[in-house]
């Protein structure tokens, strides 16, 4: 549905996006992850035809954004990072204006209007001026605007920023509901945001796509970097000796020992699964009680930090200068 090929964007001497490629299939959600100023918004602005790429290509539903921007705009609902609301308009006026501007008329406009009001649950706010709304309702109005023409593609730039936890959950749920029939790209710098909405992510840092794929795959890579911990009711020396014998296990270190219970930490070369199983079997064979065996919970923060650090290291190895930080207005 959306295809981005070798996309680059320069603002004068600054490279905001550097050779980014990815693809989003129909009815998929793609999470755009990255620190502030990483280039997420720039990429979205190019997909929505607000900006033109310096080089590279973006196809939405097979249409090139630079060749037929108007056809692309018809297919996209866009909620920019700065919610584009006319504060002096009433909610209903604003939504009708956006609907008409996107070509809806008469019965169709009424039908879509009713639908988005229902979906975003702003029915009781329709007669209010937008500047009187709370942040959460403003955000919903912004979402309603992006949905009014029933676009197959939704581009949401930080849709939950500045909302309170309850509002975040609501918006997130709305996005998930919408994903049943729409292709969605949404960006965030809050990691937990992504894992609760989609499994499919791309991580952007300093204009480059540094990782792409399923969150659980990316997490697995981060797990490899982490030590495994075990707590056993067993004699210390025996545990140490047993662990050394298991293939793939090294760097065994004892964390603590008390009341006949020993806590150890070790690293695994290769897959963690078999090594973990071997440790469990060894404990069973020796009649030890296993209190704990496994890696500590990996958060997306760990994943993210691991990937960003790796990419920074790689950059230094390549001898390329790091791109300057870019802020988007």
């Amino acid at each position: 549905m959306i295809r981005v090929e070798n996309l680059s964007k320069e603002y004068g001497p600054v490279r905001a996006l550097d050779d980014v490629s990815f693809e989003v299939g129909r009815q998929q959600i793609l999470g755009f992850l990255g620190p502030n100023g990483a280039g997420k918004s720039t990429a979205m602005k190019i997909i929505t035809t607000y900006l033109a790429p310096t080089s590279g290509k973006v196809l939405v539903d097979g249409i090139d954004v630079t060749e037929d921007p108007i056809a692309v705009r018809r297919r996209i609902g866009y909620l920019p990072e700065t919610n584009p609301l006319y504060m002096d308009m009433r909610v209903d006026e604003y939504l009708r204006f956006c609907g008409q501007a996107r070509g809806l008329r008469g019965e169709e406009l009424r039908r879509r209007f009713d639908f988005v009001v229902e979906a975003t649950r702003i029915g009781h706010m329709l007669k209010k001026e937008i500047n009187q709304l709370s942040k959460g309702f403003k955000q919903r109005t912004g979402l309603a605007q992006a949905l009014i023409h029933d676009p197959p593609v939704l581009i949401l730039d930080e849709p939950t920023s500045g909302l309170d936890p309850l509002q975040i959950i609501e918006i997130r749920k709305l996005i998930q509901d919408l994903a049943r029939e729409k292709t969605i790209i949404f960006s965030t710098h809050i990691l937990s945001e992504i894992s609760s909405t989609t499994n499919n992510v791309i991580i952007i840092n300093q204009g480059k796509a540094i990782a792409r794929g399923q969150i659980n795959e990316l997490t697995r890579d981060a797990y490899r970097e982490l030590p495994v911990r075990a707590s056993l009711v067993a004699p210390r020396d025996a545990v140490e000796a047993q662990l050394q014998q298991i293939s793939g296990v090294d760097h065994v270190s004892v964390l603590g020992e008390s009341d006949g219970q020993v806590s150890v930490e070790f690293r695994v070369q290769g897959d963690i699964g078999p090594a973990q199983r071997a440790v469990g079997e060894a404990a069973l064979a020796n009649g030890w009680t296993v209190l704990e065996l496994g890696t500590p919970e990996v958060t997306l923060e760990d994943v993210f930090i691991a990937i960003v650090q790796n990419s920074d290291k790689a950059k230094i190895h390549d001898g390329q200068p790091a791109a300057a930080e870019v802020t988007h207005g």
Partner: protein, 241 residues
């Protein structure tokens, strides 16, 4: 056309949704009609020459205030991204916004219609000249407003848009003044009359105001208006790169 209408309606309503529109109109009417009336009975002539004669100067301040928000505000509050991702051509949005400003000015100008009615009641004015004056004022306004909307597209800050639009209009205002024309002709022969005929406002406006509707004068205003509207559209398209 439908797209122009949609943008026009929103922008036109935006003028009247805030109190600014009413304040602006009252000030405009008080100022133009008030200054005219203060000299009217002393002068003792049943015409509106001094009224129209002052408009190019007064409008230098009024019209950039009408146009300054047109793009600058959208840039400031973020609705620029909404407008520019509507399935519309840039020139349609420019036209919608511009026509809203022009309609607003036309209504303000129409508010002075009591002046010719009053003059006709107490004297015997040259109605052709007055009609010419109104047509000229509308054309003049069209030109100033086109400069204003173009400049507004370059700024995020409304005050900056106001001041720069005023400066550009002021240039066209001064360029056609007889003293400027005579002086520049003294420096470089022919440059002054070039300014008078192709750049400055004065000669064109005064001809129309006399009731002489020469196509060359009308074309001057329409060309200038078109030029700045095209520049506005180009600057919007160029913003993407």
């Amino acid at each position: 056309m439908a797209n122009i209408g949609i943008i026009f309606r929103r922008e036109f309503r935006a003028y009247f949704d805030s109190s600014i529109a009413y304040i602006f109109m009252i000030v405009f009417l008080l100022f133009t009609a008030g200054i005219f009336m203060s000299g009217f009975f002393l002068q003792g002539a049943a015409d509106m020459r001094s009224f129209f004669g002052n408009l190019p100067l007064f409008n230098l301040f009024f019209l950039p205030a009408v146009t300054m928000r047109l793009w600058a505000e959208d840039k400031r509050i973020g609705t620029m991204e909404l407008l520019m991702t509507f399935p519309m051509k840039a020139h349609e949005i420019v036209a919608g916004k511009y026509l809203a400003a022009l309609a607003f000015y036309a209504i303000s100008l129409a508010g002075t219609i009591t002046l010719p009615i009053m003059i006709a009641a107490i004297g015997n004015p040259d109605l052709g000249a007055i009609a010419g004056g109104y047509i000229g004022s509308l054309l003049l306004g069209a030109f100033y407003l086109a400069v204003g909307i173009f400049v507004s597209g370059l700024f995020k800050d409304q005050i900056a848009a106001f001041v720069v639009a005023l400066m550009i209009c002021l240039f066209f205002f001064f360029a056609g003044m007889p003293i400027v024309v005579a002086t520049t002709d003294g420096w470089v022969n022919g440059l002054g009359s070039f300014l008078e005929n192709f750049v400055g406002i004065t000669a064109h406006f005064e001809d129309i105001q006399r009731g002489v509707l020469d196509m060359r004068n009308v074309l001057y205003f329409l060309t200038m208006t078109g030029l700045f509207l095209v520049l506005n559209t180009l600057s919007l398209e160029g913003r993407k790169y």
